[in-house]
């Protein structure tokens, strides 16, 4: 039963990892743009969650998900409009990497100056300790909620992209910017909204992550690493691949920790390495849905 326990809890954790990666995957898929500062936005959402819940003691932090996601949607829209759009079409592939890498360092130091280096966490109150027993398997309520939310976000994102007129415009822009413009689509506007969605998802990941693990202003890099591993395992630009990749990494982490309690997320990286070695194209295709 230990195995079932590890599998189920690993999948719950993996759902969160999937959300961590999918925003990054969305941006790469739509605008061929790698946002190195994605991890810092996740940490900023964690900080925002900690501070708002300090202002409103007793509030279940799950209630913060929607308002923080909305705030980060506009943050994403603004950052893309003011900063990132300047390099999205740059002929030099280094320009986006240098800009977002530099921006991640700026954000780290702003957080360091503002909040110090104390290790923090978002307390989920009683929710963090509750669990339900199914047979001999015990599953935490918070991980279950996390998994449910992760699946909800993936389904909603999939529906928006595959079924709405806006999603159609996103796919058209991802396919060929110039031809999309001939249809009257303004690519930079599509990019702004896409980054808005991506950072809203990052914010959700940041809050959920802060409820189960501690963080500092410098946690962005490890978030980015996991996000990258998720989407590389999934196959670049594949949403469902990102969720699957998240599941694999979550299970790898918990199985690893069971046998080797000091391993941290070593086995996550090992699983990533194994996939890259044996299936370099990722678990699923490379196309948008």
């Amino acid at each position: 039963m230990v195995w079932l326990d590890l599998l189920i809890n690993g999948i719950c954790l993996g759902g969160l990892y999937g959300v961590l990666g999918v925003g990054l995957a969305l941006v790469i898929g739509v605008m061929r743009f790698v946002n190195i500062s994605h991890g810092e936005f996740i940490v900023m959402a964690s900080f925002l969650g900690v501070y708002v819940s300090a202002l409103l003691p007793g509030l279940n932090p799950l209630w913060l998900l929607v308002p923080v996601a909305v705030v980060f949607f506009f943050v994403g829209y603004g950052v893309q409009a003011v900063l990132f759009n300047r390099v999205v079409t740059a002929p030099d592939f280094l320009a986006p990497i240098l800009l977002t890498f530099g921006f991640s360092i700026v954000l780290q130091n702003v957080m360091f100056e503002s909040f110090g280096t104390d290790v923090r966490a978002l307390t989920a109150g009683g929710l963090a300790r509750q669990s339900i027993a199914i047979g001999s398997v015990s599953i935490g309520v918070l991980p279950l909620i996390t998994l449910a939310l992760a699946i909800l976000f993936f389904v909603v994102l999939q529906l928006v992209i595959a079924r709405t007129g806006f999603g159609r415009a996103i796919r058209a822009t991802a396919d060929n910017r110039d031809v999309a413009r001939l249809m009257g689509i303004k690519p930079t506007r599509i990019f702004n909204i896409t980054m808005g969605f991506a950072l809203a998802l990052a914010a959700v990941a940041g809050l959920l992550l802060a409820m189960r693990a501690t963080f500092t202003p410098f946690s962005g890099l490890s978030n980015l690493l996991v996000a990258f591993e998720v989407i590389v395992i999934g196959g670049f630009g594949s949403f469902w691949g990102a969720l699957l990749g998240g599941f694999l990494l979550g299970v790898a982490q918990l199985v690893g920790l069971y046998f080797d309690p000091d391993a941290g997320i070593f086995y996550v990286h090992l699983a990533f390495f194994a996939v890259v070695l044996f299936r370099p194209q990722g678990l699923m295709g490379i196309k948008l849905p």
Binding site: A169, A172, D175, M183, L288
Partner: protein
């Protein structure tokens, strides 16, 4: 008032000049043919009209308003639509989605999904398929349909018969009267001189970035055209 009037249009690719002082005019309801060999500047001309080339000099007026400085997405909203060379359908989108995205500007008019399917009945049953399953001619129909969904005042059709079998080209040219009947003017870019002259009211011939001949299509002799075409 002319529908489109380009005057003194010069276009540059870096240090290279691709068009020299082009003057082209389209009257409302007219079909204009633009002929010329490879590299004559036909595609460059259409792209610069549609706003895809920013590095240009001269004036481009559409329905009396200067559009030379506008980006492509704004020009599309004014009712000037380009069917690009090589069709360039969106490969991530189904055939029907390709048509629907043509209506992104929300311009109202005669053309909608049902009417485009009436124009190209073969496409009606295949809306859910992906573009790569289509033959070149069918892709061209979808590309034209996609452009019509924007209810354009002026349709720019680039290399409309490129790589297509003559029978298929006939079929596509047969759709033009129906398009014109709904008040859309057309600029056809074509390498096949005779076909272009037969389908158009007015012809411009481009050679190495310059207009070498223009006139009412029925007044131009084949000798004149081939002389202007090859510059011999």
């Amino acid at each position: 008032m002319k529908l489109l009037e380009a005057r003194g249009l010069s276009v540059f690719y870096g240090d290279l000049q691709a068009l020299f002082d082009i003057a082209v005019a389209v009257e409302p309801g007219q079909t204009v043919a633009l002929i010329g060999a490879n590299g004559a500047g036909k595609t460059t001309f259409l792209k610069s009209i549609a706003g895809l080339i920013a590095s240009k000099r001269g004036s481009i007026a559409f329905e009396g308003a200067e559009i030379g400085a506008l980006p492509a997405e704004q020009i599309a909203r004014l009712g000037l639509t380009l069917v690009p060379e090589g069709r360039l359908l969106f490969q991530n989108l189904t055939i029907e989605e390709n048509l629907l995205i043509g209506a992104y500007t929300g311009r109202k008019g005669y053309w909608n999904l049902g009417r485009v399917y009436e124009l190209f009945p073969a496409m009606a049953a295949r809306g859910r398929e992906m573009p790569f399953v289509l033959s070149g001619g069918e892709q061209q129909m979808v590309a034209i349909g996609r452009a019509l969904m924007a209810n354009p005042r002026l349709l720019l059709a680039d290399e409309i018969s490129q790589g297509l079998a003559p029978v298929v080209v006939d079929q596509i040219y047969k759709s033009f009267p129906a398009i014109r009947a709904e008040g859309t003017s057309i600029i056809i870019v074509e390498q096949e001189v005779r076909r272009a002259a037969a389908a158009s009211d007015y012809t411009y011939c481009l050679l190495k970035g310059r207009v070498t001949l223009e006139g009412r299509s029925k007044d131009l002799s084949f000798d004149q055209l081939s002389h202007a075409y090859f510059g011999a």
